[in-house]
């Protein structure tokens, strides 16, 4: 089998398109979330998505359409809670994640009919990516790209120095809200491919790999997007050729690259 054979399979083409679009969206959002030290919102929302998918499976056969608004609402709630000084961001994420996981497990055990299907959302599968997921990925990528082009400088300013940004009339809270909503959407659309356990790697890995190159913000963002694209392509193809789980392959590929770039940085005191 050659690599070109991959493109003769419809499900592989769908997985590649969805993977690239979700990977680029996650890497873009992750550049701001990681540097704001709010990256764990991706992991937390993935757990929330597990509970939300359980509700979706209980109510019908299109669980992601039910999970989407639930995860988006919870992402807003996490943000609002973390803005209160009495509940820190990581605690707010932990609260939402554990409640949602508990709810998902409880619903599955009470109903019993969808336990197996629910478990398939834990690790995802390229076989399950449908045409609808492609459209959702295009919608997500288009929205995130438009948002990024329009507000790049405001996002950078508020990530670097939120107090200065707020004094400079940048609407920091509104931008944070949009970031949280897009992160929720990325997680829900991405769990089909990577599953709830691994989806946050799309948000975290590209940025921490790019940071090892010691560049300015724009170059770091471009490097993160490039690595997101490369690891999604290589991960999906490798998993197909060697019959490996796609999500795990992508995550471990990222981990290898991170380990390599980090080691080189330590040895050379910066790659450039």
């Amino acid at each position: 089998m050659t690599l070109l054979d991959i493109f003769s399979y419809g499900f592989m083409v769908r997985a590649l398109i969805a993977g690239i679009l979700i990977g680029l969206s996650g890497a873009f959002l992750g550049s701001f979330l990681v540097l704001k030290r709010f990256a764990m919102i991706g992991q937390g929302l993935a757990h929330v998505a597990f509970g939300a998918v359980a509700i979706g499976l209980l109510l019908g056969d299109q669980p992601l359409f039910i999970a989407m608004p639930i995860v988006v609402v919870v992402s807003i709630l996490i943000l609002k809670l973390s803005e209160k000084t009495s509940v820190h961001g990581d605690a707010a994420i932990g609260l939402a994640a554990t409640v949602a996981m508990a709810l998902g497990t409880l619903l599955a055990s009470v109903d019993g009919g969808f336990q197996t299907e629910l478990n398939s959302y834990l690790f995802g599968s390229i076989l399950t990516v449908q045409q609808t997921d492609i459209w959702l990925s295009i919608l997500l990528f288009g929205s995130v790209a438009g948002f990024g082009l329009m507000y790049y400088y405001d996002l950078f300013s508020m990530t670097y120095d939120p107090v200065f940004a707020e004094v400079s009339t940048i609407r920091v809270k509104r931008l944070n809200l949009i970031l949280a909503i897009f992160t929720g959407m990325t997680v829900v659309i991405g769990i089909q491919l990577l599953g709830t356990i691994l989806i946050s790697s799309f948000i975290i890995f590209p940025t921490i790999i790019a940071m090892q190159f010691h560049q300015g913000f724009l170059k770091t963002l471009i490097i993160a997007l490039s690595f997101a694209l490369a690891t999604v392509l290589a991960g999906i193809m490798t998993s197909f050729v060697y019959d490996l789980p796609t999500g795990s392959t992508i995550v471990l590929l990222n981990a290898l690259i991170f380990g390599f770039t980090y080691s080189v940085k330590q040895l050379r005191g910066g790659l450039t």
Partner: protein, 239 residues
């Protein structure tokens, strides 16, 4: 109308009253210092007038269309690995106020180069800000603030990361900006190096204890034990 009017301002943190019945105005072109010991409410006052802390009561009125410049005590970002160059950071000062689709203009780049040259940091333009010394970072932050041509510059302990010779250079620079028409509001617990440039002093201890010229502030040292301590210190620095 004054540039800034603060009337009957009180700010609370739950049951703790940080500021009570604070009244003052800032006029165009003034160089004002707000002094006070640690915990006197200086930072709370800054947060309130910048709109970062909701007052418990009172009214803060800015002249319409005013552009605020804010220079923090130090970088809010303490992570030295943050991927941002000096150029990227300084440009945010001008871009924040750009309307619509934000992109750096030729005029912004020219102003950036002028400020970098004025502050002797042109050679650092493409360096990551985390690699700079405290003094260099402070000059970058001042350049960022000046990119937006602010009407008033509000500074919170701006010289805390600078040594004594750099402090006097820094205040000379502020003096030039003030003479060019920019209003200055300096919050500090050490007025020493700034004493030559001040028009007016407000002494704060939850409320305003003294409001007058710097000369009166020194002469009226007997008004309060706080002021006495401070003015004596100031005179010593002056000598």
């Amino acid at each position: 109308m004054s540039l800034l009017d603060v009337s009957q301002l009180s700010v609370k943190y739950e049951s703790f009253t940080a500021l009570k019945d604070v009244n003052f105005s800032v006029e165009n072109g003034e160089f004002l210092a707000v002094l006070g010991e640690n915990g006197s409410g200086k930072t709370t006052l800054i947060k309130a007038i910048l709109g970062l802390k909701e007052p418990h009561s009172g009214i803060i009125t800015w002249e319409k269309g005013i552009r605020l410049g804010y220079l923090p005590q130090h970088l809010n970002v303490q992570d030295r690995s943050f991927p941002a160059t000096v150029k990227e950071v300084i440009l945010t000062g001008a871009l924040a106020y750009q309307k619509g689709f934000k992109r750096p203009t030729l005029a912004m780049h020219q102003k950036l180069d002028t400020l970098l040259a004025d502050f002797s940091i042109a050679h650092l333009k493409h360096q990551r800000i985390g690699t700079l010394s405290g003094g260099q970072q402070q000059r970058v932050l001042l350049a960022r603030t000046l990119m937006s041509d602010p009407d008033i510059l509000i500074m919170d302990e701006p010289t805390s990361a600078l040594d004594s010779s750099m402090r006097s250079t820094f205040y000379d620079l502020l003096k030039d900006l003030n003479e060019g028409g920019m209003t200055m509001m300096l919050i500090t617990h050490d007025v020493g190096s700034a004493s030559d440039v001040l028009d007016r002093v407000i002494y704060l201890d939850q409320t305003i204890i003294f409001d007058g010229t710097f000369a009166d502030y020194c002469e009226n040292a007997a008004i309060s034990p706080y002021i006495h301590t401070h003015a004596t210190h100031t005179h010593e620095v002056h000598k």
